[in-house]
């Protein structure tokens, strides 16, 4: 497939057009116009991202749609962009989640609508930028740029403890970023370049690799909200407005796992092998821990938030099995979690808009009067517990088969987490869709409006599309994952020595 991207800087357009949209939004007066403008604009960006998939060459692992411009020549900092199969999927997820976020905030956000929409659009720029950047400075810029609008989303439009949650989020992520920055500087000192592809596959010393790996690991693990670095996540999720929770779950968490795939594995392959067993067992702990805590929650948002900890455990586990099945499964799991958990947060937002509570007991029995809502909730809950035929099943299946390649004990220890996922999701579904209908009385609550159905419908389609026909999604991954594995595979000179 010919790529017209040489003449058309598609990635730059995708990254910076939301800023333009934000600039226009600043000029708009009425809230109605603001909502419509942001919705139409984000939808246009989403449509504009489709050619990335259409023109994507699945036969090569090279970075595609690449753009290179010298930026600060004195420090060899370049404006470099490009995507491979893994980032392609994450960019598409980002662009398509955005209009749904706007739809989900339509009624939810009533104050400072303009500022809210501007924050959303700046977020979009930063998120797409993170997944496309091929220069460390550019990457770090987008990585940090995301922090401020996200903190604002939580801190301004959030719930009762919004300031606490926003500050906690900011401090955690900032602390992680410092480690990332240290790793970037260390690599620059060694390589003399900020170019990400140039730092890959270099014969760094073992000690150096381990330190760089650990520094990046702290940063990414916080972002993934990997157990035990997850404590900022429930607070942020509970307080954030619906759109904030959706972005946090669907996109922001993925940046951590993306970081593992883009940096940790190819840049420090030796250290990856050294730390692999620890991270695998940490992932198993996350899966079980996430399941146990989710089972104990009565707050719907906390329940979904802790389920995220478990689901991201699957992603990290898949990545660090260092098998093709594991990494493809992990990438699928990242997309699936974005689709399913994003949808679940929208659903919880729908409950909150109607009942002004997120208490599981008070939301009991909504299925009787809201059949459409209950059906959609059912599908997303089943998808979340990896019901066969839905998207998460494929991801979990691949991750598990990758896990078996590493060790049977690992998978056996992770099974309780899988069972717990079914337990807490079915418990939630049973209560909300099928619970006692007399108390509380929901007979006056309205079923879903067209806007809400439209916000959930694309995600519903994706649940079954990926679940029953994953080939179009996995197709773009094969070459990139294969290349990644080659980069990570132990070079002949490597001997396994224990950590210094």
């Amino acid at each position: 497939m010919p790529q017209p991207s040489e003449h058309l800087p598609l990635l730059s357009l995708l990254i910076f057009s939301p800023l333009l949209g934000a600039a226009v939004a600043v000029l708009l007066r009425s809230e109605r116009a603001l909502r419509w403008w942001t919705f139409v604009f984000t939808l246009a960006v989403a449509v504009a991202s489709v050619p990335l998939y259409a023109w994507f060459d699945t036969t090569t692992a090279d970075f595609q749609f690449a753009e290179h411009v010298a930026w600060i020549p004195a420090l060899k900092i370049r404006y470099a962009l490009g995507i491979d199969g893994i980032s392609l999927l994450l960019v598409l997820l980002t662009t398509w989640i955005m209009p749904l976020c706007v739809l989900a905030s339509w009624r939810y956000i009533t104050t400072r609508v303009k500022e809210f929409m501007v924050c959303l659009l700046i977020m979009e720029t930063a998120m797409i930028g993170v997944f496309c950047a091929l220069d460390f400075v550019l990457f770090f810029l987008f990585w940090e740029a995301m922090l401020i609008p996200m903190s604002l989303l939580i801190g301004v439009w959030g719930g009762p403890r919004k300031v606490y949650a926003a500050v906690k989020f900011f401090i955690y992520t900032m602390a992680g970023s410092v480690f990332l920055l240290a790793a970037i500087v260390a690599l620059y000192v060694k390589v003399g370049s900020f170019s990400i592809p140039e730092t890959m596959g270099r014969p760094y010393s073992h000690t150096f690799q381990c330190w760089v790996f650990l520094a990046m690991f702290v940063s990414f693990a916080i972002k993934v909200s990997m157990f035990p670095f997850h404590t900022w996540l429930p607070a942020a999720h509970v307080e954030a407005p619906t759109a904030g929770s959706v972005l946090l779950a669907s996109i922001l968490l993925k940046m951590g796992t993306y970081g593992f795939l883009r940096f940790s594995l190819p840049i420090t392959p030796y250290a990856t092998h050294v730390f692999m067993p620890y991270i695998l067992w940490l992932s198993v702990a996350a899966i079980v821990y996430g399941g146990l805590t989710a089972l104990a929650q009565t707050d719907l948002k906390k329940l979904v938030a802790y389920s995220s900890v478990g689901h991201m455990g699957f992603a990290t586990l898949g990545i660090f099995t260092l098998t093709a099945a594991g990494i493809e499964g992990a990438t699928l799991q990242m997309i699936n979690h974005g689709v399913t958990t994003g949808a679940l947060f929208i659903v919880v937002g729908i409950i909150y808009e109607r009942l002004h509570t997120r208490d599981l007991a008070k939301a009991a029995g909504m299925g009787k009067t809201l059949p459409v809502f209950a059906t959609l909730l059912g599908v997303f809950a089943l998808s979340s517990l990896a019901f066969p035929g839905t998207n998460s099943f494929i991801g979990e299946f691949l991750v598990m088969s990758g896990g078996f390649a590493y060790s049977k004990a690992l998978v056996i220890c992770m099974v309780p987490g899988v069972v717990l996922a079914a337990a807490y999701m079915l418990r939630m579904l049973q209560k909300v869709a099928y619970g006692d209908t007399r108390n509380p009385d929901h007979s006056l609550v309205q079923d879903l409006s067209l806007r809400e159905i439209l916000a959930l419908a694309p995600l519903l389609v994706m649940v079954f599309f990926i679940g029953l026909h994953p080939e179009p999604v996995t197709r773009v991954l094969h070459a990139s994952v294969q290349h990644l594995l080659e980069q990570t595979s132990r070079p002949a000179g490597y001997a396994y020595v224990p950590l210094p």
Partner: protein, 493 residues
């Protein structure tokens, strides 16, 4: 790789019929007659499609249909072979009768949420037929889980404390075992073999010969216990709790669809994933047979102690299901035939018993056996059918259950296992001990003083006709076992 077999559209249509039926039932909203018509048409369509496939399968053909290709070696696909037909024919035929019966029952008792009830019923059949026609472990697992989820609203139908509790237990047992045992086993089998397709015969299985024997044994144990719908002790206790459901649910789902999905899946995996030769080589057969013997005997003893009729039937089901697994576990042709044919035999007889229990409840609002003394004279058809079906459970000729016991005994002798012969004989005595008193006291017992005042009548005809038909069929397949037997014979290598 061989050329893919031709796609047979009848399989797809058969699986879709109950699904479309469920959709139409939901769309019919609050028009009960239209709703019942849709259910009936869906059931009849399903049965006709299944019947339409019978001649081809009888001729030794295996029909295929691939729905979705998920990953290499991993697909959602359907097949109709001899073993599927035993289950598909009985389940689809009994659905037709149950539609009539449940219309009578639900209207007779003016139950709530009848649309949800009918829709979930059809969805449960969708799952059951899918299991019958599953071509690989993944498809089997998919439909198995669909049955679990779609029957939950049926079990918890009354939406009171007791039914929520029963439903919770039901879902916990079934999903925990499926997720905790079947899913990891399935992934491991996929990792070991590269696909999950069932073998095309019951002999060889699909596991490569170099897999370590302990891995195979662990997988086997996980698969036998993991399909917890098969009611093997100690994972059986969801079944008696699920009897809080309305009787038509107990009848079709817990005597036919749900539990049969469990045993069918277990036997399917035993024969078509592990294979007779592998099980024989690793000596997995007899231990399994003794393990389920424990269930056969213990469940019968528990049944003796139950006064609630449905609870007694539930424990009888637990006991009888293990006959099917016992048959397969003996690994002898006659035993496997006996086990497989019991899928159909038990279905027709047990549904009769449940139909009777429901008819008695609708006519008299009695649930306990001790209160049924003398009722046989007021309800001769119902208790007559009950008597016939009891004989089948006991294994008396010429009713269906006798055929099962005959072949199982032959198989046990074939396997030179005196222990199993003793188990079969002891369980026959126990069956007689808990069924005979019910029939005896109904016909020859003295009605209580209060009952003597009442003039009880038979339940509505929509209930009596189906239970009479199933009782007659129980006798018919006892006299002419060949229809199901030919399929069972075709399964055995």
């Amino acid at each position: 790789m061989a050329t893919p077999p031709p796609q047979d559209i009848r399989l797809l249509l058969a699986v879709l019929a109950p699904l479309v039926g469920a959709g139409l039932v939901i769309a019919s909203g609050r028009r009960p007659n239209l709703r019942e018509t849709f259910s009936f048409v869906a059931a009849l369509t399903l049965f006709s499609l299944v019947a339409f496939m019978v001649p081809d399968v009888r001729a030794g053909k295996t029909l295929h249909f691939t729905l979705f290709q998920l990953l290499p070696g991993l697909s959602v696909s359907l097949r109709a072979d001899a073993m599927s037909m035993i289950f598909a024919v009985s389940a689809s035929f009994l659905w037709v009768l149950t539609v009539f019966y449940s219309a009578g029952y639900m209207r007779g008792l003016k139950e709530h949420a009848q649309t949800r009830f009918s829709a979930c019923f059809a969805l449960a059949l969708f799952g059951a037929i899918g299991c019958a026609f599953a071509d690989n472990l993944l498809t089997l697992y998919l439909f198995y889980e669909i049955v679990s989820v779609c029957t939950y609203p049926l079990v918890a139908h009354h939406q009171d404390e007791e039914s929520y509790e029963g439903g919770r237990k039901y879902l916990t047992y079934l999903t925990a075992t499926a997720k905790g045992l079947i899913l990891p086993s399935m992934v491991l089998i996929y990792v070991l073999t590269g696909n999950l397709d069932f073998a095309d015969n019951a002999r060889t299985g699909i596991l490569p010969p170099d897999v370590h024997r302990w891995v195979v044994t662990a997988l086997y144990a996980a698969c036998v216990l993991g399909f917890a719908k098969n009611g093997i002790m100690p994972l059986h206790s969801w079944l008696p709790s699920a009897m809080v459901a309305p009787t038509p649910v107990s009848a079709l789902l817990h005597a036919v669809a749900v539990v049969k999905v469990g045993v069918f899946s277990t036997v399917r995996v035993m024969l078509y994933v592990f294979g007779v030769e592998r099980m024989d080589a690793l000596n997995l057969g007899l231990p399994t047979a003794y393990f389920v013997s424990f269930t056969i005997l213990l469940a019968s003893i528990v049944a003796l102690s139950k006064d609630n009729l449905k609870a007694r039937l539930a424990y009888s089901t637990v006991s009888q299901l293990s006959y099917i697994i016992l048959g397969a576990a003996l690994l002898k042709p006659t035993a496997i035939e006996g086990g497989l044919i019991h899928i159909a035999n038990h279905a027709f007889s047990k549904i009769t018993l449940f139909f009777c229990a429901g008819a008695i409840y609708v006519a008299t609002h009695k649930k306990n056996i001790s209160e049924m003394s003398g009722l046989g004279r007021a309800m001769p058809y119902t208790f007559g059918a009950f008597a016939i079906a009891s004989l089948s459970m006991i294994g008396a000729p010429p009713v269906a259950g006798f055929v099962t016991k005959w072949y199982l005994l032959l198989g046990a002798l074939d396997a030179r296992s005196l222990g199993i012969v003793v188990v079969l004989l002891a369980s026959t005595l126990l069956n007689a001990a808990y069924f005979a008193p019910v029939v005896y006291s109904a016909f020859f017992g003295k009605p209580s003083a209060a009952d003597a005042q009442h003039h009880y009548h038979e339940a509505p005809w929509t209930m009596v006709v189906p239970l009479s038909i199933t009782a007659i069929i129980s006798v018919a397949i006892g006299l002419y076992p060949d229809f199901f037997m030919q399929f069972a014979r075709a399964v055995v290598p």
